[in-house]
Each structure stands twice: as structure tokens, then as C-alpha cells.
Amino acid sequence: MPALQRPSEADKKDSPHALLPFLQTQSQTTLTRLYQRPSSCLSVFRLLAPLERQIVMNLLWLESAIATSTMVAWVQRDGRKLYEEALGNLSRLHILPNSAAKLALNFTFKTSLRQALTGGGTSGSFGVPAEKDEHSGPSIKTLDSFALERWETILHYMVSSGTGQQPAKPSQGVLFLLQRSSLMSSFHGGPLQITSSGFQFLLHSPHAQLWDLLLQYLHLAQERQMDLVEVLGFLFMLSTMELGREYLTENLSTTQGVLLEDLRDYGLIWQSKPKSRRFSPTRLGTTLTSSSPPLPTTISASSGPLDGFIVLETNYRIYAYTDNPLQTAVLNLFVSLKYRFPNLVVGMITRDSVRRALMNGITADQIISYLITHAHPQMRKNNPLLPVTVQDQIRLWELEKNRLKSSEGYLYTAFTSQADYDLVLNYAKQLDVVLWENAAKRCFFGSLEGHLRIKEFIERRTQNSNS
């Protein structure tokens, strides 16, 4: 039995933000155009890792480039590697130009970020606020419940597909995106069904889910020939807006007008009526570049806190203090539910329920991390947070499912001489296709993709030796 690996909870924290790899694939011209907007610079800055942010800040108010060695002098010996990585990341985002001798920020980025910090300028990149007047716009509560309703409609639609229920359908645009991102797919022209990546998606935090979808949207926007700078600029503008304030649509471009409607479907933007001249960002929008929860933490007194409602006992029993149908449905993915009360759902983690989840493509790690992120505050007093027995058992069930590993290929055997065997084996090893070998039996197993080349190699050699 292979040793169980229990990754510590801290390991996962420091992964870079999901958007950054996407930004790094963009051309320098695109990024420089994006950096012309102070709000975009501020948002991109917030997505960076803490060390990267400090490096940017250190360089921000310098008028001229400084020698690389000057900056390195501040780096502690242990931190050299982290520092070099940070510089690499910044230069891939074209915030720092590639230069060995001098360090200086991209001029556009520097100017815009300075402007963001000091205010002023004429970029208008933070959105045009509407005058507060008699119809003073939506309350924060209205915005929250709107965002929650839209977002849960999407998730609920996903989770109950294929169960025979008929939940409310999200808009056509959302459905298309779910299909494009292969979170859902339709088998043989039938209704949309959730895929295994869709199941995994459901267990992510709302923040990660949001960015998953937005990234898909960005890819789609690229294909639709939408101007990426305008799309990103708009998202970043949303993230710097103030919750509960209304903004005017008048300065938006046509692309951004289209965007406005799409984002309304996702619940990032609220509008009183479709063609309104005003819009309000919801919490989903304003927290895009922060780490606070993108959905309101309490909806009503009965449903309890959205983060932290699960109590898991060592006897595999699970108590979920929730009346939210979506959370219940998500739990149902890997828990066999027993009783349901107005504010409490009780279930068991069983071999069958976990196996069902594993079959759907959910991994043991995802189940465990879902349980950890949604653990009830009472559970947080425990160390380790989840009962070790349950954690280990879930992992064991996963291992049990993978008792048999298979790979297609060819068994090479009956070599005439040891030299022949060695020669072919070495060649196969160079191709890195050997899956199993045994020198005593003079045979080895090579994967399917290596077969043609090995065959050619042997034929060539036979011809050579014959001629």
C-alpha cells in the first residue's frame, strides 16, 4: 500500500492568481494598452504575490532606473530564490522590462499606478458615478440577494443536471459558456449533463469558480474578436468600484455594452431594467481582486453562515447546518444523506457515496479540501481540523479504486542475443517509452506511441546487418 500523502493546508495558499498565467500569455502591446488605465494597474497589482507587490512599490517612485545590484543588496540570503522568481513573474507580465543591469518599471504601468495612488488624471478608468438622487438605487441587500440568486441558479443547474429535476435555467449565454468550458456537455444531442470537471468545479470556492468562468469568458472573447483590453479593463474597473453605488453607462464602448449584459447574467452587475443608463456592481464584481468572500456571508438568519456549516465526526457522520438547496445538492455528491431538518442536514460519508463521487471524477483531495473550507467554526478548534481517520479512509477508498493501472503497448520478447536486447532497450529508453523491463527474461514492455519508431529502428538495423 503506498504511503498516504496528506498535503498540509498551508501548501495550497501561495499559488498565483488564476488570471496571471492568462495575462502572461498576452503580447506586450496588449498589456501596455491595458496598463494605460489606472484602475487596471491597481487591480493587476493586487493580484500579484506579496513580494512582487513590494518590489513594484520599491521601484514605483524612483525617477530613474537603478542598478540590479543595488536592489539585490536588500535581499536576504535565504530569499534570493524567491526574489529571482518574483522578478521573473513581473517581467513576464511586462511590468519589469527584461534587463540584466537595470531595474525600472514599465513606464506606462508606473505612470498609471502612480496616478491610481495619488488620484487625478483624466483616464476615467474608475467608472463614472451617478449622482445620488431621489430614486437612490438598490440597497446592498438587494444587490447581494440578486448576485446570490444568479450565481446559485448557475451552480444549481449544474448540480441537478441528470438527476431528473428541472431547476431554473440560466440564460443562454451562461449555458453556452458552461458547455464551452466543458463543465457541462450534451451527450448525443441530449440535454446538458455535468462533466467530471464540472463536478470538480462545484467543490471550488466561489472566488475560484468565478475566475474559472471569467477566464473561459476571456478565451471566448478572444475568439469572438472582442477587444481583450476593453473586456479586462471593464472587469478591473468593476473590481475597484464601490458596492452600493450606481454608475453611468455613458462612457462605455460597444464591446463593454455587450459585456455589461453578459455579466448581468452571471450576477456581477445589477440593473433596474435591461436598457437602463445606470448599473451597480454587486459583491461578486467588487471583490474580484480581493480575497474577501464574493457572496454575502449571511442571507437570512435561518441559513447560517455560508462559510463554515459542516461538522464531521470520527464516526463518518456529517452534520451540515444549512437550508440551502445548493449546498445540500453539493454535499449529496459525496455524502449519503439521511435526515433533513429545517436548518440541518445529516448524512454519512460511506464507501459507496465516496466511490460514486470518485466515479464522477472528483478526487479525494477535493472532497477533503471542500470539507476543510466549509468546516463549522466549532470544528476549527480541532487540530487537525478533520478527523484523521475519515481523511485517511477517503484517501484509501481512492487508492482502492486505482488498484489496477493499465497501459496499452507492445511486449518485446524473444530476442536472439543479449546484445540485440540491450541495443533495442537502450533505444527505447532514449525515447522514454519503456514501462517495464526484465533483463533475465530478455523482454520489455513499451508504450503504444513508441512502437512505430522501435519497429523502424529494428528494421533499419536488420537491413544494415544483412547488407
Partner: protein, 361 residues
């Protein structure tokens, strides 16, 4: 996320002097540098919290707190980030309001730096305990920091309250950073920074205030492990006596309550412990011919030479060792001087400073 409390030392008289000093740094320029720095702290992370306190003569109001509700009438426009506008407006408005209310005719009071520091620590304490009590405090508020931007010289009367603040800060795991923007080095704040693992900077290039602030005081402790921040290589460890509030080179410590005196006393004024007359006499005899400080107001002071100051520690050490025999308790033991190059002489078990028993973090 991290929390930063900032104390701005804003006595008008001292700032007036600063504006005429060469190179000049007037209050409006100072504030604009500081506001950009505070914006940078908020920019770092949307969840970063911030509290700004002002230390004015006789008053120390809260100028801004990120927990304040955003005023409905805030004039935001499409070119600036609402949180920054809120912060800048609140600080500028309240500073002006307090300065206007101070008037010019009053006798110049020293600025209420200690009051502001204490309030800032109380604020951190409130943040650390209030939200969901189920979670341990460290989860709620990682690495709280306190930044003091001071222009006032040391005020001997504030030694005890500052030291008490330092102990509270250590308990709360608050790092105290200090920037002396104008005027001479302050001994007490230097010690405060040293004892809490913060950094103390005496501003040398006053035109580059913002760069100093960003490089030294913006990074939270985890980042300082990678990108170093300037720290002091010399710390002046001298303490102030409890009787005349003088900064002393050699002090006498009550063996019961650790109060510090500039001369041997028959009765400890803090805990009323009486000391044997013999010990007093011996201590008085063996005192070096040296006043505790040149500007000492103690009645028995006599002028001394710098050379005498250097011999003082050794005398003190011998003295302490000779008198700390158990049968002579209670007694007043000699305090060893902490000389200004930062090396301390620990004397036969006597505590020289009401500093922490544990090493600074």
C-alpha cells in the same frame, strides 16, 4: 491581509521649525507623502485595515479608520479609487479641524504622543478580539503593526507610559516601527522599535520621505524576511529614573518592584520598601563622580567628565555583586549603565531596565 496603525506626530510649533529648517519639510508636504504611503498600504490588499491617529498638543484623536462607514456625500469621480478618496479626505479634514481648534494663544503643550500610541494599541486589541471568538486571534489579525512618525524630542515624563505601551505591544504581537522625521534621535522610541522587532529610522533625506516609508515600513514582517529593511545598529538603552524623570547612565533599582532611581533612596517611592542605612551609605560612597545626566536636576549632582562615565559600568558591576547577598535583603542594588553603543552590562542578577524578561521577538 494585515493591519497598520499609524501615529502622526503633529505639534504645530515643531512643524513650524521643520518648515524653516534646511532642507525644509512643511506639514502639507509631509501629509501628502504620508497619504500616498497609506494609499499604498490599502492598495496592497483590499482587506488591509488601517487606523490613523494624530498626536497634537494635548489631544490625540482618531483621524481615520478603515472601519468607518463611507460618507454618502463623498465627492468621488471617475479618476480615483473611492477608498483612497475617503482616506485622504478624512485625514486632511480632521487634521485641519484639530489644528484650527488649537488656537495660538495657549502655552505650547508637548504633543500627546503617548496618548496616540495607547489608543492605537487599544484599537489593535479591539480588532484582535472582536470577530468570531471561536477562531484564534492570530487568524483574525496577522502581523498587526504600529508606525510612529515622530517629530518631537524625548519627553522624560513619558518614559514609563511608553515602556508600558511597549509591553502591551509585545503581548499583542504588534511590531512598532518608528520614523523620526525631524529633530534629534529619540531614545525611548528607539527602544520601543528594538523591543518589538520593528525598525527605527532617523530620516536623513527629508525630500525622499515617501521612498523611506515605502521601503522600510510598507512590507509586513513575512516580506521583511526576504527584502531586508533598515534596522538600527545602535540602540540607546538608557532608562529614565522614576523620581526626577531624568535619563540616567547609572540608576539604582529597587530590588522588590524594579523601580529606577537616579540616586540611592532610603524608601522606595513606588512600593514603600525600606532599605538598610548601611547599604545606602555604601552605595553613596561608591558612586562615581558623575551626574546621572548633564541636564540633571537632582540636588546632589555634580559635574563630571566623560572619562568618568566610561569607568562607571565596572564600578557598578562590582558594587552589585558585593551587595547582593541574601542576608542583606531588602537592599537597593546598583543599576549598571547601559552605554550608548548598545551593549548592556548585566549586573549580578539585578535588573537594569524594566525591559521584558523574554528576548524581543
Amino acid at each position: 491581509m494585515s493591519h497598520l496603525s499609524v501615529v502622526l506626530d503633529l505639534p504645530p510649533a515643531q512643524w513650524h521649525r521643520s518648515a524653516r529648517h534646511d532642507p525644509p519639510l512643511a506639514l502639507p508636504d509631509f501629509l501628502s507623502h504620508v497619504l500616498v504611503f497609506l494609499n499604498a498600504h490599502i492598495a496592497n490588499n483590499a482587506e488591509n485595515s488601517l487606523a490613523v491617529f494624530g498626536a497634537f498638543p494635548g489631544t490625540s484623536p482618531l483621524l481615520y479608520s478603515s472601519a468607518d462607514p463611507v460618507p454618502a456625500r463623498l465627492p468621488i469621480d471617475s479618476n480615483s479609487y473611492p477608498s483612497f478618496v475617503h482616506l485622504d479626505h478624512a485625514v486632511a479634514r480632521r487634521v485641519t479641524a484639530v489644528l484650527d481648534s488649537l488656537g495660538t494663544d495657549r502655552a505650547p503643550e508637548p504633543s500627546a504622543l503617548v496618548g496616540a500610541i495607547t489608543k492605537a494599541l487599544c484599537y489593535v486589541n479591539r480588532l484582535a478580539i472582536s470577530p468570531s471568538s471561536a477562531a484564534p486571534a492570530e487568524h483574525v489579525l496577522p502581523d498587526p503593526r504600529l508606525l510612529i512618525l515622530s517629530v518631537s524630542p524625548d519627553l522624560a515624563t513619558s518614559y514609563i507610559p511608553i515602556m508600558n505601551s511597549v509591553f502591551s505591544a509585545q503581548k499583542l504581537k504588534v511590531t512598532i516601527d518608528v520614523c523620526q522625521v525631524f529633530g534629534p534621535d529619540t531614545v525611548f522610541l528607539q527602544q520601543a522599535a528594538h523591543l518589538t522587532g520593528g525598525s527605527y529610522i532617523h530620516l536623513e533625506r527629508r525630500d525622499a520621505l515617501l521612498q523611506y516609508l515605502i521601503m522600510a515600513f510598507l512590507p509586513p514582517p513575512p516580506i521583511r524576511k526576504v527584502l531586508a529593511v533598515p534596522t538600527q545598529d545602535k540602540v540607546d538603552f538608557r532608562a529614565a529614573c522614576f523620581c526626577h524623570k531624568n535619563i540616567v547612565d547609572i540608576g539604582f533599582v529597587c530590588s522588590v518592584c524594579l523601580s529606577i532611581f537616579c540616586q540611592p533612596v532610603p524608601v522606595c517611592s513606588t512600593c514603600r520598601t525600606k532599605f538598610p542605612i548601611k547599604t545606602l551609605q555604601r552605595l553613596n560612597q561608591s558612586r562615581p563622580l558623575l551626574p546621572s545626566t548633564p541636564r540633571s536636576t537632582s540636588p546632589k549632582s555634580s559635574p563630571g567628565t566623560p572619562a568618568g562615565a566610561r569607568t562607571a559600568p565596572t564600578n557598578g558591576a562590582n558594587l552589585a555583586r558585593s551587595i547582593s547577598t541574601p542576608n542583606e535583603l531588602p537592599h537597593s542594588s546598583n543599576i549598571g549603565s547601559r552605554n550608548s553603543n548598545g551593549r548592556s552590562h548585566s549586573m549580578g542578577g539585578s535588573v537594569t531596565n524594566p525591559g521584558p524578561s523574554e528576548a524581543p521577538r
